[in-house]
């Protein structure tokens, strides 16, 4: 990076918001994915959207590779920069511009932290449902760019179901507007839709318009305990087939239960082969009805016990156990590889069986928990990356997990994105034609290939 370019960035975002010192650059060489590091040449932190647009243009004019970064919590390497490129932080673009209580939408800058936004909206008696496990730190821009899901996704859907509009900068720093504040809007191409899950490869979000909903009037949580993980898996499929849509339907296997119990001593059933955590919500009468039917289905599928949380304290204890799953597993071994292969919900039993087979075949410890209700499992491989032999087995097991998910009619990623981590597998799911089409589109919108190169579509060609 030449001095004069650095000066231009400084003039654009202010000298305090430009980082070029090697130690500081190093701290932007990774994200939450278990992948090799790669360093940028410069990191900039615009404080207002005009500066953000200028940064994009400056990069394009000079052919600099640009990676936008929110909280850097993505699990697919989406923010590991192109070596020598530019990292643009959105952490200073963190203003909630409007919460419209009459029309149930909000307008925000991309760097707003998800949980802060949800809390702000809740203080006005409204609900923003997407609640990724990382919400305490993840940004709304990152959520949209990854189409993040969460615990409530089964009933309420994922981030894409709440995006009404995205204003973004194209590579020339031109502000492109899409979607709007109306519930219905079919003006032009669905560019907002195109931006969702685009992982920073098609444009840089400047502003997001997000849908809000009224919170449910009541809810009921339960914990069903099983002696056989297959019974639990079949219960998931049966609840869905029974046309009940709980807000949340989460699964934890025996290994995860034991690890969590060891960590929190919450009185979990350590002998259980599996546990389902279920919450139904909505109108009080509907909640009663759904809860009774869910309980019946659990019992019918050989649930050992079904416990209904009596009050908020019990409900919180149940959800704390679920939230503890990853933390507790993460303490077992130095490296934690969290996967998110997803299958149609009727295939959950088959996927659970496959995971068991894979763990045995590659002699690995895999704890499985996840959003069983949406078919989205998080098999979590506990390993030590420094053990080369074991790491090779981990890589082989990951391949096997993806193959299995695809064979069952599933997908490579339910919510964590493709990024660098899975770009090589993309053709297995969609085939070469789809990749060629996507690349063609990208090459027109981003002719110099500056926007997060290598992510999603694999190594940049030519």
């Amino acid at each position: 990076m030449g001095e004069s370019l650095k000066k231009e960035f400084e003039a654009t975002v202010g000298a305090d918001n430009v980082m070029t010192e090697p130690t500081e650059l190093f701290s932007y060489s990774y994200d939450s994915a278990v992948l090799d590091k790669s360093q940028p040449d410069i990191v900039v932190r615009p404080e207002h959207s005009e500066a953000l647009g200028k940064v994009v243009k400056l990069c394009n004019d000079n052919g600099l590779k640009l990676t936008v970064r929110g909280a850097g919590t993505n699990l697919s390497g989406g923010t590991i920069p192109h070596p020598g490129g530019v990292v643009c932080l959105t952490t200073a673009l963190n203003r909630i511009l409007e919460v419209n209580e009459e029309d149930l939408y909000a307008v925000v800058q991309p760097g707003v932290v998800t949980a802060k936004f949800a809390a702000h909206v809740a203080s006005k008696g409204l609900l923003y449902p997407p609640d990724p496990g990382s919400q305490a730190v993840s940004t709304l821009g990152g959520n949209v760019a990854e189409n993040a899901g969460g615990l409530r996704a089964l009933k309420y859907g994922v981030t894409k179901d709440y995006v009404m509009g995205v204003d973004f900068f194209d590579v020339n720093g031109e502000l492109i507007r899409s979607g709007g504040k109306t519930v219905k809007c079919v003006t032009g191409y669905n560019l907002a839709g195109l931006m969702i899950a685009s992982e920073g490869t098609l444009g840089v979000f400047e502003k997001l318009i997000l849908k809000l909903v009224p919170p449910p009037a009541s809810y009921k949580s339960m914990m069903a305990v099983f002696n056989d993980v297959m019974d639990a898996s079949r219960t998931v499929a049966a609840i869905i087939a029974g046309q009940i849509v709980p807000a949340t339907l989460e699964l934890m296997d025996n290994f995860t239960i034991r690890t969590v119990e060891n960590f929190r001593k919450a009185g979990l059933p350590v002998d259980a082969a599996a546990m389902l955590l279920i919450e139904v919500d909505g109108h009080p009468a509907q909640v009663e009805d759904d809860a009774a039917r869910v309980e019946a289905i659990c019992k019918h599928n050989k649930a050992e016990t079904v416990r209904v949380a009596k009050d908020d304290a019990e409900r919180n204890a149940v959800w704390q156990a679920r939230r503890d799953a990853l933390p507790a597993l993460a303490r077992v071994r130095p490296t934690t590889v969290l996967e998110d292969a997803t299958v149609p919900r009727s295939k959950i039993p088959a996927m659970m069986q496959a995971l068991d087979r894979i763990a045995k075949k590659y002699d690995l410890t895999i704890g499985t928990f996840g959003h069983a209700g949406d078919g989205n499992l998080h098999p979590t491989i506990l390993t030590d990356k420094r053990d080369q032999d074991e790491w090779r087995r981990v890589e082989a097991a990951i391949d096997a997990i993806f193959d299995e998910a695809l064979a069952l009619g599933g997908t490579l990623s339910g919510e964590h994105g493709i990024g660098l981590a899975k770009s090589n597998y993309l053709k297995n799911e969609y085939g070469a034609g789809t990749i060629a089409y996507s690349r063609k589109m990208k090459s027109v919108l981003d002719p110099k290939g500056i926007l997060n190169p290598g992510k999603l579509l694999g190594p940049v060609l030519g």
């Binding site: 190093f26 701290s27 932190r45 990853l326």
Partner: protein
């Protein structure tokens, strides 16, 4: 300067601790420094990554790495909430020791640690001398809080609103004590800590009054040395060990049931850090034993003496309680100080909006990174003011200094007290004690 290979091999010993970080980034929600700067190098994950970068020789500038590590309050909030259970403060203490061994401390700092801090008699004499002349340098800033600011341009003081050194330190007022157990049947060793001794002797007097009230015998040896945290956090492990040894020698002379301190930082240091970092490996039994009997004063009062909430007269006044990081994160003590406030019968705890958070003091951080410390502290002051309380109370004299500075600067004339002062005050009202001296 020592060989960089040697530095790398020393840092490699941290490898096992460092690989525990799965880089989930959840510490971004916790770190007060990151909340201000939004920079990855300032959050735990970044600091740990930079450290492993140096160990892996991907980074080649130990000074720059050290500079980043210094931007940390060692508040332990990240560690208390880290999903992976990374021993963050342990890593930071060790890394600072390794790096300052390699880089060398500035000579002036080294002199302070090795010659002054480790010599309590000399230090006490110097400070007593200083307290007589400080009036020449300082003028009043806020009469209610009792803060001063610099009369002339003084770089070290900058625009701080500071508490002056006490006219008479605690050790000048109560040089030593060795009293028998009374009706409680218990005897405690009392470690007031430097700030209580030299800036807030009234806290020490309050503790003694309370102990007397409850019939607790006191062992207070003279010439106590500093608990050593300033030396340890600057990487001066030699000076740290010397301080611990001096204190061990003093305190093991008496017989007592618990060692109590009114300083969250001293309590955490003695209970957690002394056994871990005391360099004399042949002396582990003494240090373990002493550490296991160390308690925060309100923990002793609430858990051992069973002091509980008292029925008061009339509407209690609101006291904004600030949880010191070393009590909340390191020792997980949050209920007992609130119990002691309620035990006064006159005060009720007002919780701070937004929940507990670091005040931004962080010991020497306040000196080295005053601007950052101030930004964090001003927010704290505003949240205290928002409770509409008339008193701000806490359990750590270092936090008290910071709160006083920030409340004074932000123009909120809210008195700053230690929780034991509030309780001690109520003892007069309920049943007048026979005058102690």
């Amino acid at each position: 300067m020592a060989d960089i290979k040697k530095l790398v091999s020393m840092l490699k010993e941290l490898d096992d601790l460092l690989t525990g970080c799965m880089r989930c980034g959840m510490c971004q929600a916790q770190c007060p420094i990151f909340a201000e700067t939004g920079r990855e190098a300032d959050v735990t994950r970044g600091k740990l990554a930079i450290l492993s970068g140096l160990a892996d020789e991907m980074l080649k500038d130990p000074q720059a790495v050290n500079d980043h590590l210094q931007r940390c309050l060692l508040c332990g909030t990240c560690e208390a909430n880290c999903p992976s259970g990374v021993k963050v403060t342990d890593i930071f203490f060790r890394a600072r020791a390794i790096l300052s061994g390699y880089l060398g401390l500035p000579p002036s700092q080294r002199l302070v640690f090795r010659r002054l801090l480790t010599n309590p008699k000399l230090m006490n004499a110097l400070i007593a001398f200083g307290s007589k002349f400080q009036g020449l340098l300082a003028k009043e800033a806020d009469g209610v809080i009792g803060t001063s600011c610099a009369r002339f341009n003084a770089p070290l003081i900058a625009d701080r609103h500071f508490k002056r050194l006490a006219a008479r330190s605690l050790h000048a007022q109560v040089p030593g004590l060795d009293t028998p157990a009374g009706k409680s049947g218990l005897r405690v060793a009392f470690f007031p800590g430097c700030l209580t001794d030299k800036v807030f002797p009234e806290i020490g007097l309050a503790v003694l009054k309370i102990l007397k009230h409850h019939g607790v015998g006191v062992f207070l040896p003279s010439n106590q040395a500093c608990c050593g945290i300033p030396a340890l956090s600057s990487g001066e492990t030699g000076a740290f060990t010397s301080l611990v040894r001096q204190n061990l020698d003093l305190f093991t002379q008496g017989s007592w049931d618990y060692l109590i301190t009114p300083c969250a930082t001293c309590t955490a240091t003695i209970a957690e850090l002394w056994p871990k970092y005391y360099g004399d490996h042949l002396d582990t039994i003494r240090v373990q034993d002493l550490a296991s009997k160390t308690m925060d004063v309100s923990q002793f009062l609430a858990d051992i003496l069973k002091v509980g909430p008292a029925k008061g007269i009339g509407e209690p006044s609101k006291v904004a309680y600030h949880d010191p990081c070393h009590l909340r994160n390191t020792l997980k003590i949050t209920d007992q100080p609130r119990t002691i406030i309620a035990a006064s019968g006159k005060y009720a705890t007002a919780e701070l909006p937004g929940g507990p958070s670091c005040c931004g003091s962080g010991g020497s951080f306040n000196i080295k990174q005053y601007k950052l410390s101030e930004t964090i502290g001003r927010k704290k002051a505003e949240s205290i003011a928002a409770t509409k309380a008339t008193i701000a109370a806490t359990s750590c004299p270092a936090c008290m200094l910071q709160l006083a500075d920030m409340l004074s600067k932000t123009g909120h004339s809210i008195r700053v007290k230690h929780v034991v002062e509030l309780y001690a005050e109520s003892l007069d009202r309920e049943q007048p004690l026979e005058k102690s001296r």
